[in-house]
């Protein structure tokens, strides 16, 4: 997992979604960040815009219950490296 990717996603969560920085770490589940289904969609949307990419649903389904912040970073990093 790229540290810059994690840092940028963390900043998004704090600045735009009001998530408490102290609970953000790579293993945290998205479902534990206090985001509901709508705000989760917005978060993924904002993350895609931040990295200028689109995550196909087969690579990651944001509704998946055990999806962690770290696993999103890994998907984004893999797409960045393939770009």
């Amino acid at each position: 997992m790229n540290k810059d990717t994690f840092t940028l996603l963390s900043e998004l969560l704090v600045d735009q979604f009001g998530v408490d920085a102290s609970i953000i770490h790579p293993e945290v589940k998205l479902s534990d960040l206090g985001l509901d289904s709508l705000s989760l969609m917005e978060f993924i949307f904002a993350a895609e815009d931040a990295f200028s990419l689109r995550i196909p649903e087969e690579k990651m389904d944001p509704r998946q219950a055990d999806l962690t912040l770290g696993s999103i970073c890994v998907v984004i990093d893999s797409m960045k490296s393939n770009a």
Partner: protein, 410 residues
């Protein structure tokens, strides 16, 4: 003799171009410091023109909505005003029955600014639309976020009747409280639509004031002989209102009584006001409050500074009160026309007048139109030694008239 329970205002908050603190707000009102600035309409295909606008310095950055989805600027203002009203009322929301807490909100075009920007993003910039575009542009977004903020489970209703929206919202909440449906309500209105397409639409309707080139603050001139229309403003005003029994039980400090409400519709013309309908709405409000015209010490007029609008209101007020019989002013020259939020903002200004005894002057009314047969407060604010009852008028496009009366706390 009225049989229903009194409804009391126990807190209020506001966002506007007049300043964030109460000292700034009062100072702007009493020293006639207008928030108007010159702003260009610069869109391809439209003649370039500068118009006066009253934007607020309110900063939406860093604000996160209770739903955590992005907010329209107007919704952010609604939340700020609502939160401030709740704090002002010193009400512990955890300690009340949430099923008897309602949200009654007004906005004429809530979400219009966000929709304008979204359309530009899609049509002009060829970007994709955000997943929450619908829920941030829906007219009831401010009320929905306020319901989330307060966790109110009572009625959460949005009223959209143009410039009367928030006055109607407040009035309908008054009725719901009197009927015993709820104990407490957060009420008011918000509006923020100073985006290019929306402003251009108002300009095309030919109701915006001509910009005074050397002093934008002098552009909007209600009741002045040389008036040309209004300056669009933005902002929000919110109140906590509750039944007297509920306020007493929790030992609330009372700011004012919300004592009367009248509403009707001209059913006559989309934009031309109908003075007879206005008279009727004021009579309804007086009857509702158990008062007569002689009891009213100050009227905050609708006063949009259009040729037709000010004359119609002069006619209706003169008909009811007699010529030059009650001090009146329009404060739209200061905060601009807040459209759906206007009724709430002007009720707030009227309540501040009740509390301070100072009635603001009608900004920029230097040369009173001789056809206006009203006691317009000109130049300096006027002191009223014993202001007991005030009236706030909202007369909307579409013909809806709404009148609110507030009375001194004791």
């Amino acid at each position: 003799m009225r049989k229903f329970e009194r409804v009391l205002v126990t807190g209020y908050g506001q966002v506007s171009s007049l300043g964030a603190s109460w000292s700034e707000f009062d100072s702007a009102l009493l020293h006639s410091q207008s928030g108007a600035i010159a702003s260009p309409i610069d869109l391809e295909g439209i003649d370039k023109v500068d118009v006066p606008l009253c934007p607020s310095s309110f900063d939406v950055r860093g604000r996160v909505s209770p739903s955590k989805v992005p907010m329209d600027r107007g919704t952010a203002m609604a939340l700020k005003a609502g939160q401030d009203a709740i704090e002002h009322a010193q009400i512990n929301l955890e300690g009340i029955d949430k099923y008897r807490l309602g949200i009654f909100w007004g906005s004429g075009m809530a979400g219009a600014a966000n929709f304008d920007l979204s359309a530009k993003s899609v049509y002009a910039d060829h970007k994709r639309i955000r997943p929450t575009n619908v829920v941030t542009t829906m007219p009831n977004a401010p009320a929905a976020e306020l319901s989330l903020l307060t966790q109110a489970h009572g009625p959460s209703i949005t009223y959209a009747c143009a410039c009367a929206s928030s006055a109607v919202a407040i009035g309908e909440a008054l009725l719901a409280l009197r009927m015993g449906r709820i104990d407490v309500a957060v009420v008011g209105g918000s509006e923020s639509m100073l985006t290019p397409c929306v402003v251009a639409g108002w300009q095309a309707l030919q109701v915006l004031a001509s910009l005074e080139k050397f002093d934008a603050t002098a552009s909007c001139r209600p009741f002045d002989l040389n008036r040309t229309g209004f300056a669009l403003g933005e902002g929000a005003a919110a109140f906590v209102i509750e039944t007297e029994a509920h306020a007493k039980k929790r030992g609330a400090q009372v700011q004012a009584e919300l004592s009367g409400y009248g509403t009707n519709c001209d059913g006559n013309h989309m934009t031309n006001p109908h003075w007879q309908g206005q008279v009727r709405a004021m009579q309804q409000a007086l009857h509702d409050a158990g008062l007569t015209a002689q009891d009213i010490g100050y009227v905050n007029t609708h006063g949009t500074a259009t040729k037709a609008g000010d004359l119609a209101e002069s006619k209706s007020l003169s008909e009811l009160f007699g010529a030059k019989n009650v001090p009146v002013s329009s404060t739209k020259g200061l905060h601009g026309h807040l459209l759906g939020a206007g009724g709430a903002m002007e009720l707030l200004i009227s309540i501040r007048a009740l509390q301070t005894g100072w009635m603001p002057s009608s900004a920029n009314c230097d040369d009173l139109d001789p056809e206006v047969t009203l006691d317009v407060i000109q130049g300096s604010p006027r002191r009223h030694p014993n202001l007991r009852h005030v009236m706030s008028n909202s007369f909307a496009f579409g013909g809806t008239n709404a009148v609110l009366i507030a009375s001194a706390a004791s």
